[in-house]
């Protein structure tokens, strides 16, 4: 059975933690945007793949595999529609070059994103952004939304299991009816939940402050190493 992203985050062996991880990802994105060359993309892909394989193992490959379903057809289209000198069959030389570059750019970006989501929790990302002057109310709202999504997801899984155990999804007609019922139940529960959330916050003297996660930044050495390698590859190659 597949693990959820949150389970992967929990179990991952992180070499960089906390806000430093978020900043590493942001700087890396900026660097690949500035240098815009296949060699930089390839080195970035390699660096982040190594980091991710170390931290989350096979889960990294599983997550990288999923977008291939739409990236590869898109690359084929690029290779086909780009005008230029014909290379073989319907593909042009310019098209193949562009598809090649797009492939590396896409996978370099993906590797950075997958690295981020497999090693960093949403609260850590939010509070790293808060340090970069993201307004406090946005962080507060996003934290509450994230917590609410966690609760609703659990609730939805329970409802779905309950419906499934009573053959609620047997046949298309039943599936539609059950889905409508579940949507209704979720709506009612969301209203109840909003009331309870308000009570819970009131009972603990809520005054507009959502605390930061406790994780501190570590692995700054790795951040410097990765950033230096990407930047150097951009300058030299």
């Amino acid at each position: 059975m597949h693990r959820t992203i949150e389970e992967i985050q929990l179990k991952s062996k992180k070499v960089v933690t906390g806000a430093a991880n978020v900043y590493l990802v942001m700087v890396s994105f900026i660097l690949i945007y500035i240098f815009n060359s296949v060699s930089v993309f390839a080195i970035t892909l390699m660096m982040f793949s190594l980091l991710s394989l170390h931290s989350s193992g096979m889960d990294y490959l599983r997550l990288m595999k999923l977008p291939a379903l739409f990236i590869i057809p898109a690359l084929m289209v690029i290779a086909f529609i780009t005008p230029g000198e014909e290379l073989f069959w319907i593909f042009t030389e310019e098209g193949v070059n562009l598809a090649f570059k797009t492939f590396f750019r896409t996978y370099a970006s993906l590797s950075i994103m997958v690295y981020l989501i497999t090693t960093t929790s949403v609260p850590e990302i939010l509070f790293a952004l808060k340090k970069l002057r993201l307004p406090e109310f946005v962080v507060e709202m996003m934290s509450l939304i994230y917590r609410t999504i966690q609760i609703f997801l659990d609730e939805l899984i329970r409802l779905e299991r309950s419906a499934d155990s009573r053959l609620g999804f047997s046949g298309k007609k039943n599936m539609l009816k059950t889905s409508a019922l579940l949507a209704h139940s979720m709506f009612v529960k969301s209203m109840e939940r909003a009331e309870k959330l308000n009570m819970a916050m009131e009972s603990r003297c809520y005054s507009g402050k959502i605390p930061e996660p406790s994780s501190s930044s570590s692995g700054v050495g790795y951040v410097l190493l990765v950033v230096t390698v990407i930047a150097a590859s951009g300058v030299i190659l």
Binding site: I151, E202, S203
Partner: protein, 350 residues
Amino acid sequence: MIELRDVWFSYNDREVLKGVSMEVRKEEVVILLGRNGAGKSTLLMHLNGLLRPEKGEVIVNGNPVRYDRKSLTKLRRLVGFVFQNPDDQIVAPTVWQDVVFGPENTGTRDDEKIREILRNLGLEGYENRLCNSLSGGEKKRVAIAGVLAMEPEYVVMDEPTAGVDGVGMKEIAFIVRELREEGKGMIISTHDLDFAKAVGDRFLILDGGMIIYNDAWIDYSLAERCGIRTWMSEGEVVLVPHDSCLPDGDFDFVAVMGRSAKERLEKEGIEPDINTAGMERAFLRAIGGARVMLVCSRSMMDVVRREAATYPVRLRLYEREVDEYEREGVHNRGGSGRSGAHHAERTEGH
């Protein structure tokens, strides 16, 4: 001390609390018992200012509660509230963020103290865990930690053992005892009599919107009738004083206690199954599911009643005067001689 004086509350037309008066002192654990829908949660929410009584007042440390924002903040720092469902209470995504939530908002955050609370509740190392990845028992402990981090003088817990296994229940009982040792006053609603007896100093029963019982002890029969979860057994002890008629019916065992009772059974020609340690062995058999007739000297009736309250055993008193007809020698066991007899049969605790 927290005091409730003649508190009334209703949801629309439905009256839930009808003049509730009670008090909770520091270093005391008060257990609030009652069936589902009795109004336990509603009552508890008044203590933290989450609900405002329609009539009556709530007094904390001698000061009547006021419902402006500043007074409520002060009240909620004094009286912490642990919700029944931890998912209702946990508002932040990670354990640390949730536990720190209250102190951060009141400006009383002390990270060392919070780490100590997490350590005491077995949550050390969980700081960065996402709350939705925790088990039910862990979530419960996070909810308790979130309240304790505010360092309240009183803690209100709404059914802390709901959905918790035996190990979890023992952990919560341990936490409650520790808090009492620290001098906190606690009021806990529960359906669980085992838990209640393990931690409670005083027991209240809320029924029909009123406190119908308030004492330092509670027996199983009363708890059972008030819809409280107790040891489930079909067995019972039918307690018969030695000078009463003996009851009809099938008994798995006949036990005897006291000289007068032994003489009575000899006179009736009944050989008791349990001759020695009659009360204890009768209780054990009843707990095991058997129906036991315990014939007892009248002078020892109170002892049996008192002891029965401390065991998960159903005790029924059967008392019937022996009329003249029976005294003339007609065997009184098996249905004869019923007319004219004064008959008293009741389950203990009524």
